[in-house]
Symmetry: C2
Subunit: 334 residues, 2 copies
């Protein structure tokens, strides 16, 4: 295992712990806000007066920042699959702090996620060291990756303009497909921006290069599209079904994009590649086992367990609070 | 992956396919014997007139022989865990041929067993090449392995004479513990005998060495003890619970014994060892998921899915037929 990968893995795991923890703290904060009648009734923003809710926000911010930093140090093929660990942290903490009972099969699901993650970490390829944004730009405009980007955009356009109006409400793969394909481009842009910031801090200011700004604008567009369709997927389908499929497709497309752009698997042994693939399947199976045995929650709470790409949890959290407050108000009126 | 390991793995997989297949063929034969009234009523031995039953016996014999040969070519730490594949073959064939519906989680369990097995195979250590039984004898009487054997026998004696009368009927670990600890010694003896036969075939007759006969006698005693207590475990506890625990303990003790005797992991990287361990946990989880979702069968059929050590399935099959016929007769009388 390479030292840069080790740093990236540790940061990614820490990030997952913070993100998983933040879900629990914020949920606890929302529960307190609901119990505390007067504050909940003040225009529905009672949770803003809850210190716990703010602590949750800070925890999540730290987690997302750590996730961003992890992408700078380790290849996306390593960091993205480790995102599943936040599901475990949430499930385990919910068991102890929120008394949401984790069943035996849930424990098995967690174990599988951990075991699979270990295999992925052990067999992740080493990333080439990058010294400027221009170098990343060169990788991004190589014919193979341009073809990937063009194909990805074409697929997304077909899904958005042809499939969404026809099958969007009935076929779960339409919305999740859009999120996952766009998500792979989000991660690549995020990584470029992260490396640019790191290099700038080290003294080689990258803000002067127009390429940095192209990555930034492209990244923001991707995040907005991804968030929008993830939202639509969660609104239309059960989270227990959305989560594993989204995790699988998002991770798969990210690995594909990263493999093409950074040639991650060049020079890797077949044994390593197959092992990493087996680890990925193990984590995926773990998320399915974990979700299949969870007690059915109200949709707003279930959303909390979606494995998320960088930045995406912000949005979900926002939705969650709105839903929660709507539910609370309905309950109070009823 | 080393060529000798590759041969051993392929033979072990073929062995699992045959053993898994034999369960299905024999069950089909027993079903036909039951449908065919006259033959089933002739003293309860109607199945002996069923060609399918005999085909099943031959298939099982081929499978057990292949398992024996696999131990000659590859280390026990590789061959033993692969035994879980026969569970998959049985489950999948039962789905298609016996119409015993395999549920979604069952498919996931199968997938986990396969993925875990691949990881184990990829990270199995290479075995030292052995040229005579005397060399194996030297390995067996090295202080570390003698200590293991002495401890194993002591633990078994405590379990048999102290724990069995007190907790045997209530604590599942007593019988399974005996089977698993003795099983690890069975495998070591089996391996020694297998290598002796292979060397004899190659021209270096090993029957002249008294060590060969010690291994043979010790191996037979171990098999008898193991069969006896496996039988008692299956009689007292649910197969769905016995199977995964037995698989886990039996494989764990076999790996431990093999690691001590053959120094399997000497010179292996930490990464390989951890990967193999993760693969083992994945297979174990797969067997739990697979068993947890199977429709409850009558006990006699459930027994068919136990992952077995060399030779053990013979005995179980015998029990199964007896039970089956008793059940049939009861049903006919009722």
């Amino acid at each position: 295992m390479h030292s840069s990968n080790l740093i990236g893995s540790v940061i990614a795991v820490v990030s997952s712990v913070f993100i998983g923890l933040s879900f629990i703290i914020k949920k606890k904060g929302l529960q307190l806000a609901r119990v505390n009648g007067p504050s909940a009734s003040v225009g529905g923003y009672g949770y803003l007066l809850q210190p716990l809710w703010w602590l949750g926000m800070i925890t999540m911010f730290v987690g997302e920042a750590a996730n961003f930093v992890a992408y700078v140090y380790a290849p996306a093929v390593l960091v993205t699959p480790l995102g599943a660990l936040s599901i475990i942290v949430s499930a385990v903490l919910a068991h102890f702090l929120l008394k949401e009972k984790l069943q035996k099969m849930g424990v098995l699901g967690c174990l599988l996620c951990i075991v699979g993650s270990i295999i992925i970490v052990l067999h992740a390829p080493e990333e080439m060291s990058l010294t400027s944004v221009q170098q990343i730009w060169k990788l991004a405009i190589q014919p193979a990756f341009l073809s990937y980007t063009a194909s990805a955009i074409a697929v997304v356009l077909i899904l958005v303009f042809y499939c969404t109006p026809r099958y969007g409400q009935t076929n779960i793969l339409v919305y999740i497909g859009i999120c996952s394909v766009v998500g792979s481009l989000t991660v690549m842009s995020t990584k470029a921006i992260g490396i640019a910031i790191k290099l700038s801090f080290e003294g080689a200011n990258q803000a002067f290069y127009f390429q940095t700004w192209i990555f930034a604008v492209f990244g923001i567009i991707c995040i907005v599209v991804q968030l929008n369709y993830l939202n639509m997927a969660l609104d239309n389908f059960n989270t227990a079904v959305v989560s594993p499929i989204y995790y699988a497709l998002f991770t798969a497309f990210t690995i594909l994009a990263s493999a093409i752009m950074f040639k991650d698997y060049y020079g890797q042994s077949i044994s390593s590649i197959v092992s990493a693939l087996c680890g990925f399947i193990t984590v995926l199976s773990g998320t399915i086992v974990l979700h299949s045995t969870r007690e059915p929650d109200p949709p707003s709470n279930a959303d909390l367990y979606t494995p998320l790409s960088p930045g995406v949890s912000w949005y979900i959290q926002g939705r969650e609070e709105t839903k929660f407050l709507i539910t609370s108000e309905c309950e109070m009126k009823a």
